[in-house]
Subunit: 225 residues, 4 copies
Amino acid sequence: MSKIKTPIVILNFKTYLESCGDSALNLAKALESVQEETDIKMVACPQACDIYRIKNETFIDVLSQHIDAVSPGSHTGSTLFEGVLAAGIDGSLINHSEKRLTLADIQAVNQQLLDNDLISCICTNNVETSVAAASFNPDIVAIEPPELIGSGISVSQAEPEIVEGTVDKVKAINKNVKVLCGAGISTGDDMAQALELGAEGVLLASGIVKADNPKDALLDLVSKI
Amino acid sequence: MSKIKTPIVILNFKTYLESCGDSALNLAKALESVQEETDIKMVACPQACDIYRIKNETFIDVLSQHIDAVSPGSHTGSTLFEGVLAAGIDGSLINHSEKRLTLADIQAVNQQLLDNDLISCICTNNVETSVAAASFNPDIVAIEPPELIGSGISVSQAEPEIVEGTVDKVKAINKNVKVLCGAGISTGDDMAQALELGAEGVLLASGIVKADNPKDALLDLVSKI
Amino acid sequence: MSKIKTPIVILNFKTYLESCGDSALNLAKALESVQEETDIKMVACPQACDIYRIKNETFIDVLSQHIDAVSPGSHTGSTLFEGVLAAGIDGSLINHSEKRLTLADIQAVNQQLLDNDLISCICTNNVETSVAAASFNPDIVAIEPPELIGSGISVSQAEPEIVEGTVDKVKAINKNVKVLCGAGISTGDDMAQALELGAEGVLLASGIVKADNPKDALLDLVSKI
Amino acid sequence: MSKIKTPIVILNFKTYLESCGDSALNLAKALESVQEETDIKMVACPQACDIYRIKNETFIDVLSQHIDAVSPGSHTGSTLFEGVLAAGIDGSLINHSEKRLTLADIQAVNQQLLDNDLISCICTNNVETSVAAASFNPDIVAIEPPELIGSGISVSQAEPEIVEGTVDKVKAINKNVKVLCGAGISTGDDMAQALELGAEGVLLASGIVKADNPKDALLDLVSKI
């Protein structure tokens, strides 16, 4: 039995002006609202400073954008597992393309999340690194081909084989690991095609965060499932 | 006129188990209580995920432990100025010894804080880097001699000349920059001697955060002023 | 057919005073001499600035200590693959514990070495990361349990299971990947026991580099094979 | 009396294909030849792996592109001062825009170079950081406005005030510190104008390194002085 209901939409708030403070809360409420209306699992990845408030004011699951592989102690300015856990996280992204970790740190943070029965989502850049990440038995591997990040190009059209290849090879290692498309997803068609290629969800950001109406953009995203 | 009332006690919560979530809030309340009782300025530096809650539930001033020198955008996992500002910060530490920044980033983050009339506290490791930091006209330079960090040795006994030298040279550049002792301060005597050497406050951490009774430890710290 | 003759001794020169300039050349000559006398494969990992000279004045194989995952271009101060290749390297360490790389960079540098038929030696810290590294099909995985690095404790006595476990799991992925012990090896007995546990060689440093007579120390190291 | 003869041309070889191995040597010989013909000081900044060879086969002064602020010891993959010193350096760049250092590390490496009577050239990005760098009394501050790096735009036309402002403020701190233009210099006119603005030399890279004939490009660069 998996902790993860699929299909799943994970929204990375990143560090946009449109995802700070009140705006972060509003994004989380849009996710909450769409989850209620569609019964499709929605997850928020806000900045660390917005985790507590979102967990307190919504029912949405929250992942940290990042956790540093440090133990409690003298690590001023780091994102401590125990800190964001106390703030209410349900899990974390690991190794996002904008916050790459060492191999040793990926393994350590992933293990810490699994040991606490929290959601671990490791981001990767190609089939080979997805396979390596899958060997750690995370809940999710989110593949982000660098050439598609922020490109507006649909992964299902540009590189369907990278999604299919990742799904095949990751499932060969551990069929419980879910594969998400982490780039090249903008529309309902993109998401539907990603699922057809074997992905069990998507990790996305600016297309929703910067939309005039994030809720409408989310509804469109899941409209073809 | 300075934004900073002195003498000042800045408490770096770091990433201790004793400074996560509820414990962070309790520490902030101890600072608040001692500030009220003694009329000595107390400032909290919690983890990013605790800023919002502390600002909402106390009246204490809060500094971020760190800000990344990035503009709003695609910087997953970074600590964005606009993010922690929305969470309520009154300023930030810059270049703490556990989160060193490049020269260019120190200048950029310091300027961002000054432009927003927020408190800028640059941490340094010796007289030379204190002088360089002072050339950016921050509100505060906090000198942490590396050999004293976490040593339990009193800076006023071990290296009084580093405090006096820093005060002299920093004030020669800009007399409005306040110099704080950032290591080697544990007791009321330490703090009193630091002020006698010309410092206008202290930046400290584990001695208070890990004390059985942080409020008592704070009261002791300021008892000889 | 493997590029690697085993058993193999890889000597990491690190950045000791005893391994700069003329001393680096002398260490390489000691390796050369012991390789000739014993017919056991010896490999040198000098600082980047000593690669050219050692390749020009000895016949020993040389690995770079590190390669940055950058393409030719504007990367002042980086260690470029094409640069150290022109200097004469036969391969490189990747992800040494003192120079950890991201997962994406490990994969990229490993592939670059394989594509050029050069020796790839990925350093790892435990069984899990060794398995992940092995999925990239490097020539060598060198396991360095952090708790043994520089400890003087013999890996075969303290943690024989970590060597055996790594060998078992790495060989299950790709039997051509060689496993080396990268910590806890000081004496001839240590090396003999490492080989008995399934390792096909050792990666070592200070015990030889800082020995009064590095050649004698190397001869002792391989005396029990 | 200064160690530095001016005007000076420092050529950063960076990590181009055109500056590896034999090509690095040829670039150094072009510098040597132009220095002999024009009596204008030329300095090479090759990759670490090319320092030894260039020092052995030419008479040109050589700066390391970077030095890590580490003491001799266990720092695999780092660029050790004592290592590049044994290879023959006459000094080093510090804090190049592609290899930024912390404030503490800039001060430490600069001091190490001064203590050994070697050339210290700190790279900076604006007037403020130039002033901070100058407080360390390096031989040279090379100002590289980020918006001009690799732009092909002439600094003397686009931002003459940044050069003049840096010269004024740096000289006010220590008149022995030389200011170099580190971006926006391509032609003989650019260099002549930089000197008119108060700069005492230039730090440049691709325009020469990637020229069809680097020697001719260098001769053109100094033709208007």
